[in-house]
């Protein structure tokens, strides 16, 4: 069973989740005994092939067109379709990033394929692909199998380990994609937040604040600690609804589901919809004035105290 993996790039750089997708797809190809082809989409990609080879692919297709300077669902879809036709792949693997969560259903609909999005594990058993994925924002985990091919899978960032393979050289070729008249939803502008800020879904460490931070200005304490730790700032729904923080930082069921190595929840009481979004973090630290706060039930380590006093002390301690 041949597999196509779309390796996500932004500005012609491979995203970490793109490497995770290769490793996830490599394992499937190993068990299923098929060829693995990596597809890259962008404007200038030839320098990236060496990095892709390290993770063990048989073939690399480069879809390089000026139209691929930025993401468009219709343009990228055409590249996926062309690559599937070129390789006759039965399974397409991509990332469950904001790009992949848009592109995977588009590609699946166009290929008349089953879609298994946001997978946290994949297995190939007796000729069938079986996956697990969180549902209800992580309150439950579902196991699904697909009964027919083609199949499109997207892999949740940080759920799959990246592993290098003894690199053999992959066959590299350009992919012809016919784009004329295809792109109707055109990308006209991209605005990135200042300073290349890390997103909560990509960060290894998240320092999140809730209503216990008492005021918008006090999030400076959260920002400083996140900066010191090289992490990202997270927020509870309450503070986003109060306009203290942007929605892009919201962790939980109406925000983002995260799985960092370390999650520090400061002044967050632990509403079920927040806990659902962060419970798969490796280590959770809770700081809350109320010793009975539900957040302590999900935390590995807790400090009962005012976040306004604990956070500055924590910042000093980690600086040492």
């Amino acid at each position: 069973m041949d597999i196509l993996v779309y390796v996500e790039t932004r500005d012609n750089q491979i995203k970490p989740a793109g490497l995770e997708a290769i490793s996830g797809a490599r394992k499937l190809a190993d068990v299923g005994g098929g060829k693995l082809t990596a597809l890259l989409i962008g404007t200038s990609l030839s320098e990236l092939t060496g990095e892709v080879e390290k993770y063990g692919v048989d073939r690399i297709l480069l879809a390089e067109y000026p139209e691929f300077a930025g993401y468009t669902p219709e343009g990228y879809r055409e590249a996926i379709i062309a690559a599937v036709e070129e390789t006759d792949a039965k399974v397409v693997v991509m990332t469950a990033t904001s790009l992949g969560r848009d592109l995977a259903p588009v590609a699946a609909a166009k290929l008349d394929a089953s879609l298994l999005p946001d997978c946290t594990s994949i297995e190939y058993i007796e000729g069938k692909i079986s996956v697990t994925r969180p549902v209800y924002a992580g309150k439950c985990i579902i196991t699904l199998t697909a009964n027919s091919s083609p199949l499109v899978l997207s892999l949740r960032p940080k759920a799959f380990l990246v592993s290098e393979r003894n690199g053999k050289e992959a066959e590299v070729s350009k992919l012809d994609v016919s784009l004329e008249g295809k792109i109707r939803a055109r990308l006209v502008e991209t605005r990135s937040e200042a300073g290349g800020k890390l997103d909560v879904t990509e960060a290894d460490i998240i320092v999140a604040g809730g209503r216990g931070m008492k005021a918008k200005e006090n999030f400076k304490l959260i920002e400083d600690l996140a900066d010191e730790l090289g992490g990202a700032v997270g927020a509870s729904r309450a503070v986003v609804d109060n306009d203290w923080r942007p929605h892009s930082e919201q962790v939980g069921q109406t925000g983002k589901v995260v799985a960092p190595t370390l999650y520090i929840a400061a002044g967050i009481s632990g509403a079920i919809q927040h806990l659902a979004g962060m419970r798969s973090s490796k280590v959770i630290v809770a700081i809350n004035k109320d010793a009975d706060a539900t957040v302590f039930k999900s935390a590995d380590y807790g400090i009962v105290g005012d976040a306004m006093e604990v956070l500055p002390a924590l910042l000093e301690a980690v600086k040492e």
């Binding site: 699904l144 990509e202 370390l262 919809q273 924590l314």
Partner: protein, 248 residues
């Protein structure tokens, strides 16, 4: 402007969930269901665009009898009419998208809205799939929308910023939190919604290509420890994070 909104009824996000006896789905006993929160933004945006450009807002929900509640809630917010695409069995994602697209195909909607994802299966697939099957452009996870003449400009949220798209109508938009502030249904709206007729169309089942094996709870986190009180506990916390948890 002819506007359609695709909505779904989902378990209340504040609810704790119990897995049913089949170990494949959740127990619906004593569970409160609500209009999918992201669909509230979709309905609101449809009403905002109607106020600007005129036209009608039709709400469409695919599901069993329970779907009517999502339609009534949307009608109470101010939508004009509602269609229940009634199914008896389950459908997989592609089946859902095909069924919705089959209904929408010849209705000539200028704009179709959906929530960016349903807060049950969290697939975030229906909007993009429907647009692809209908062969119309779409923009997903939209936080800002302007419609002018035959063209829309939409801001799409990605991990660290926004992408601005332009697309011709007809088009499909999936709504992200931040797009607007959904209105509460007024008492008058609720009363009027009860009197509005909901059109029911039986939908032919489509054989699912994916199969549920089991539904489980996530692994239980081992009980944690309270390190101490206030700022004095910080040195011990840092020591534990470094030496025991090895995350610093």
């Amino acid at each position: 402007m002819n506007i359609a909104v695709l909505v779904k009824l989902v378990p209340d996000t504040e609810a704790s969930l119990k897995i049913g006896e089949d170990h494949k789905s959740i127990s619906t006993a004593d569970l409160n269901f609500v209009l999918n929160p992201f669909d509230e933004y979709a309905v609101e945006e449809a009403l905002v665009q109607k106020a600007k450009h005129g036209g009608t807002v039709t709400i469409i929900s695919l599901g069993g009898d329970e779907a009517v509640k999502a339609l009534r809630t949307s009608l109470a917010m101010g939508a004009d009419s509602a269609v229940h695409l009634k199914i008896t069995g389950g459908l997989d994602m592609l089946g859902v998208a095909k069924s919705l697209a089959a209904f929408l195909k010849d209705k000539n909607y200028d704009l179709i809205f959906a929530g960016k994802q349903a807060m049950d299966d969290d697939c975030a697939a229906t909007g993009a799939m429907v647009a692809t099957i209908l062969d119309i452009p779409h923009v997903s996870t939209v936080t800002k929308l302007e419609v002018e003449g035959n063209k829309l400009t939409a801001e799409r949220e990605f991990e660290t910023g926004v992408e601005v798209f332009e697309a011709p109508l007809p088009a499909l938009i999936t709504a992200q939190k931040g797009l607007n502030e959904p209105r509460y249904a007024s008492l008058k709206g609720i009363m009027m919604a009860k009197r509005k007729k909901i059109e029911t169309i039986e939908v032919e089942p489509i054989t699912a290509k994916t199969e549920v094996i089991q539904l489980t709870y996530p692994p239980i986190r081992p009980p944690g420890k309270i390190v101490g009180k206030g700022a004095e506990a910080v040195p011990e916390l840092v020591r534990l994070l470094k030496e025991e948890a090895k995350v610093l």
